[in-house]
Symmetry: C2
């Protein structure tokens, strides 16, 4: 079945496309009779406006591009979900791409999105992204960009992030409140601001409670995965005076540490308390359930999408756009793994 066009309707009624268009769009300057006739044949021919023609005319794609490092990651799934909800409500669509944490792929998909046609971009930078020229290029084309999660200060664009510093501070303070004094930290690689902020939040919490920052209680997780947690916890436990609590940069690392601790016969939380970051679903499924700091992924997606849509509309209206930096708090999800030895949480 061929797609019906304005001309098909026009020809079958022996009128012009202009009249047909007026009828369909509810403009004045048209008689009730012809209007009804047009609407009838439009329905009969199952007419629908051709998307490309409309967009070419309107100079609007009704599409926002999204770049995430990794779709599979539960946090990003959450964010994407939030994005989709907001933009669909606004009549936009989501073009989804992933960078695989590669700067090269990030620039490539960014260019592809621009060439394919988008009204704006939502992006979480890859870990090894250092320059943001590929994004300033977008802005030069008058395309708004909103960053989320992993952002660059070099780009004059709005952003939505988790308060990693506060989250780490709260996580560490939570352990302190549970009576722990020898608190170790398994950090991530330097580079992404997230892991740095989490380490700084950890250090600040120690300082705020006059606890020493011991170098032997610091470990670094290269790939932020399960096995890194195993290795770090094993190292910690081999110390003459092992820590009585561990704050891990991510849940995967925390659960790795948990595995190692159980393997070594340490009780959690009696001997060692444990808390992670991100609040993956798996935290509730392991034994004991692992405490974590919940990142508001869905909300991050919603806010970022909202900022972007607003910028798109503002530019179209000619209104000046003000850059906005949203910081959302991470919230404590205390579970058994960080309960105080006496029992209460």
């Amino acid at each position: 079945m061929k797609r019906a066009t304005l001309r098909d309707i026009a020809q079958s009624l022996h009128i012009t496309v202009a009249t047909v268009s007026r009828a369909l769009k509810g403009y004045p300057d048209i008689s009730a009779a012809t209007k009804e006739a047009v609407l009838a044949t439009a329905k009969a021919l199952r007419y629908e406006p051709h998307p490309m023609a409309v967009k070419l005319r309107q100079q609007a794609y009704k599409v926002v591009g999204v770049v995430v490092p990794d779709i599979i990651h539960p946090f990003f799934s959450d964010v994407i979900s939030g994005i989709v909800e907001v933009v669909e409500a606004e009549g936009y669509h989501v073009l989804l791409t992933q960078s695989n944490e590669s700067f090269e792929k990030e620039t490539r998909v960014t260019r592809m999105l621009r060439e394919t046609g988008i009204d704006g971009l939502l992006i979480c930078l890859a870990n090894d992204t250092t320059t943001v020229e590929h994004l300033t290029t977008l802005q030069e084309y008058d395309l708004p960009v909103v960053q989320f999660d992993k952002v660059s200060a070099d780009l004059p664009a709005s952003s939505v992030v988790t308060d990693d510093f506060q989250g780490a501070f709260d996580a560490t303070e939570h352990l302190i409140r549970q009576g722990r004094t020898r608190i170790a930290h398994i950090s991530g690689v330097e580079g992404p601001a997230n892991t740095r902020q989490r380490r700084l939040g950890y250090e600040a919490a120690l300082a705020a409670h006059s606890l020493p920052l011991l170098p032997e209680y610091q470990a670094t997780s290269k790939h932020v995965v399960h096995t890194d947690g195993v290795a770090a916890a094993t190292t910690f436990m081999a110390l003459p005076q092992p820590p009585d609590a561990i704050f891990a940069v991510t849940d995967a690392v925390a659960i790795g540490a948990l595995t190692a601790l159980k393997q070594l016969g340490r009780r959690v939380p009696e001997d060692v308390a444990l808390i992670g970051f991100s609040n993956w679903a798996v935290c509730e499924l392991v034994e004991p359930p692992v405490s974590s700091m919940a990142q508001p992924g869905f909300e991050i997606g919603r806010r970022a999408a909202d900022l972007l849509v607003r910028e798109i509309k503002a530019r179209r209206a000619g209104t000046p756009v003000e850059v906005e930096h949203v910081v959302l708090p991470a919230t404590l999800r205390a579970r058994a793994s960080s309960a105080s030895p006496s029992g209460e949480r």
Copy 2:
């Protein structure tokens, strides 16, 4: 910065857009001198063809729509990942939407995708989808559709699915091979073919090994979540003769069962062996690690996308398209939860 058009180049060189287009597209009938001049000013003006104009002319969007019930689900993240990989390699993009397992939303996003402009659709049906009119409509518009995971036989379209029957059969047989004879099954809701096939595979394996199918060993999980597993396992263990193995329809349910079993003081796998379905990452993180049947999500995405892209190209070439039904095997990932009591796996 305004976007440069063919006319901008043409005017600055005092030639026509036709000549400019020829130069840029490498057509003959053009002198080396003008060609170079055009290329030079095109680069100077940072010319890029306008996506909508090209697509309107070419009648091709270079976009495929994707509808999944739930982006957050790890299986679908996997599938999406596979889809993205294939279509990007083919120069296409992915428009992602989700149905939230609602038939109404599924028809809505399907219509939106059609109106927005796609060259084809990849879809996993929602659980409560019974009719496929919204998809046959697409086909009437000459848009190819490929189904994956949850498919309908009513739609004359290619499909890519996991062999749930074989997977369930293998899972059950695995338990039998480990010396189990009283094997219970926690099923999902009737409706989706997947859960039905898994139940049938389970029943077939019992029959193949001359084991009775006991009604008291059958439970149904309404929402296929953790708590359903807890409830079912608790019921099973209250039986005069509880089962010595449980095959759960999903990993979430299996891990729920695991939680309950540990709560009840039953040892896994010594007292009760356990196996799930889907092979989520969490299977390796719980204690003991839970056996599961791995669904090839990434591969499903790849194959489905491949079929779709091939259909798109075939239609454009006028070649007839043959419907293809791909069934990919689920593979056993045996872990400690289903080890035989004697110790070996």
